[in-house]
Symmetry: C2
Subunit: 407 residues, 2 copies
């Protein structure tokens, strides 16, 4: 069994870095605060006897040697970056949960046949730099290194520059090595486990995602003397797409999700008809054909709305797409068996969010462990989880990893 | 007759201050560029023999003495600030047109009985600091001095601080003195004159306006695992209001205008359901009862939309309201007579925009002179006007003022 109190204390200590007023964290990827969080993890991992390496995408690997270090490792981990108004558990729970596995193995003097590694994956959230899971994507060969390093934030800074600046541009090649098995521990970020009073989610699948960027160009003009029929209002067009996106989500109930999360208006002046609007669309579904139908509905709707509102669609670009993921049946079985070993209530489930594990699944047998979060709320400063859930998830991770690493 | 070429050259010289790539200007109120524009006007006005005074709202008065300086002056002027993506004529044409009247009187050695003043009114646009026409409003007693100085921009800077910073916090009391008559020369900012091939708009009225600020508070949560029916999406609610505002505009055709020009999303992250949205609404109509009906429709619609989308309306605040304005019949007649003197084609019209003249009308006999603008486009960098229109409008201003100032 892991030391639940120690894990909780480490989570609370880490949550001080970028702590927000409402009890959450703001630790955007590759900011000074992200560096502080990484440094703290590296300190703790070294204290636990790990060796540290960093690859060219800034992914950090803390390695505990096994009996035979020529064998491929069993890895776990998640991300240390957060949303602008993020919670104390999203991502970092999977990182410090992995560290707690190593600390517990040390406590009990347990050696494993294979080495164990705990990873921080750079920029998972996709908030400062889009898309999400960039660096596990490069690791899995889904994106090139050049693509990863050239992702740009709203101020034009690239991931490559920012990795250099905070001292996490390593020289290890990204990916291209054998992984025996991978597990990721995460809060559910949705309402299902709590509603059904289950402690462990055995994650068998993840839904597919498509992310888009849309720019509408209308014509700026004066909000007073410009008659309604002459207007080319880019914000009106965007508003209708926001409503359409919501309709697409409801039309493919109960599993579809469809969201406009980001929008910028130009020139954003009270008495100027908006001349340009940039916004993003996020479509998700567990079935790829349904996701394709949602994509087609979005494209047709945008074209129709642009015509009705007399604006131009300057761009409708899909910037991110991955198909629904089926995790490795054996790894899923290891998670289920570990939950049963402890007598934790559990259910199989589909992840609504994307995770680094979704890309790792392309290069290694992979699965995930979920624990509930209060009211199903995540990507919110009030995100919360009970200490007993946090401990239970880590116990399941420990045993799933042990089974794969050989003791 | 005025010197049209000199006026045009002065406009083009001034347009270099804050010039944008697309041929417009960005000279937001009380920025360094606004100071440069004011300084240039002051230099030119002094060269034309004027004395300069500045009041506590930073309104700048350039005075040409009359035969009897105990008589109340005839004033003209407009604003020197611009929209973020503004044109080369909006506002500044009325300021430099007034200067050209003085230069022309000097050229011809014409004395007037009454003094003549050309005014720059501070922050007319309402873009950096809302609402519009703040300082002519204080001059007219519609707002208090405290209210005016405490208007705040998006970064929390007040007009009072920024006036100090750029050296235009004068000590003259604001308003409270006799004005014999006031005229404002402006581009139409709408399509009517050009469409009807008229050179001069004799402005008899201005439509009423109501400006609002709305904040919707929903609940931030994850765009992936949060089922559609559980969402409290503040941006979805805002989108429906944007569509409603547009419908209100069309429902009261042909005169109503209804616009959402500014909107900010929080936390504005691609995979986060927006938790808070701030936006503005601008409603206009020439008849006050219709404007009141539009107000009622907006309020009812917002309440309905908030309920349907499960968000809270944190605020729905009307921050600006003025009733439709009827300009002084004698001043309007002076403008019409001046247009006829030159044989310019003209028509009576209602101003779609608000102008400093709308507030001055409360304390002095006032009217306005409009000239066409190309394609009716204003509040846009491509705003344009033909040199012959610019000259014609200034000739009309000269004669309307002369008639009132007595020669
Ligand atoms: N777990 C998580 O919040 N990932 C970010 C990518 C996504 O939006 O699904
Ligand atoms: N003339 C002008 O653009 N005024 C700004 C106030 C308004 O929006 O009507």
């Amino acid at each position: 069994r892991v030391n639940g109190q120690r894990l909780w204390d480490s989570l609370m200590e880490m949550a001080k870095i970028g702590a927000t007023e409402k009890g959450g964290v703001c630790r955007l990827a590759l900011t000074d605060l992200d560096k502080q969080g990484r440094d703290l993890f590296v300190t703790w991992a070294k204290q636990a006897g790990c060796s540290i390496s960093v690859d060219q995408m800034g992914n950090v690997f803390a390695r505990r040697a096994g009996r035979d270090n020529s064998l491929a490792p069993v890895i776990t981990g998640s991300h240390a970056d957060s949303q602008p108004t993020g919670g104390r558990f999203d991502g970092i729970y999977g990182v410090l949960g992995g560290l707690e596995v190593i600390r517990s193995l040390n406590d009990h003097g347990i050696e494993t046949d294979r080495p164990i590694e705990v990873v921080i994956w750079t920029n998972e959230e996709g908030s400062r730099f889009a898309p999400a899971m960039v660096s596990s994507g490069v690791f899995a060969g889904v994106f090139t290194l050049e693509y990863g390093l050239s992702r740009t934030d709203i101020d034009g800074k690239t991931m490559g520059e920012e990795l250099q600046r905070i001292g996490y541009a390593g020289d290890l090649p990204v990916g291209g090595r054998d992984i025996h098995a991978a597990f990721e521990l995460h809060i559910e970020q949705g309402p299902i486990l709590e509603a059904e009073n289950k402690t462990i989610g055995v994650v068998s699948h993840a839904q597919g995602q498509r992310w888009y960027e849309v720019v509408f160009t209308g014509q700026e003009s004066h909000a007073g003397p410009t008659p309604m029929p002459r207007r080319k209002d880019a914000l009106l067009a965007a508003a209708r797409v926001i409503d359409l996106v919501n309709q697409i989500g409801h039309a493919h109930a109960p599993f579809a999700c469809a969201t406009v999360g980001m929008l910028q208006v130009h020139p954003n002046s009270r008495n100027v008809i908006p001349g340009r609007v940039f916004f993003t669309v996020d479509l998700r579904h567990p079935e790829d054909e349904v996701l394709s139908r949602m994509d087609a509905e979005l494209r047709a709707g945008i074209a129709r709305i642009a015509e009705h509102t007399r604006v131009e669609t300057s761009t409708l670009e899909q910037i991110f797409y991955y198909k629904p993921v089926a995790f490795d049946a054996d790894c899923v079985a290891s998670v289920r068996a570990a939950a049963e070993l402890f007598g934790y209530s559990h259910r199989d489930m589909v992840s609504g969010a994307g995770h680094d594990a979704c890309y790792l699944a392309q290069v290694a047998p992979t699965s995930m462990v979920f624990v509930p979060c209060v009211d199903g709320i995540s990507h919110n400063e009030v995100e919360d989880a009970k200490p007993e859930w946090i401990e239970a998830g880590c116990n399941v991770l420990l045993h799933a990893m042990l089974e794969r690493a050989g003791r």
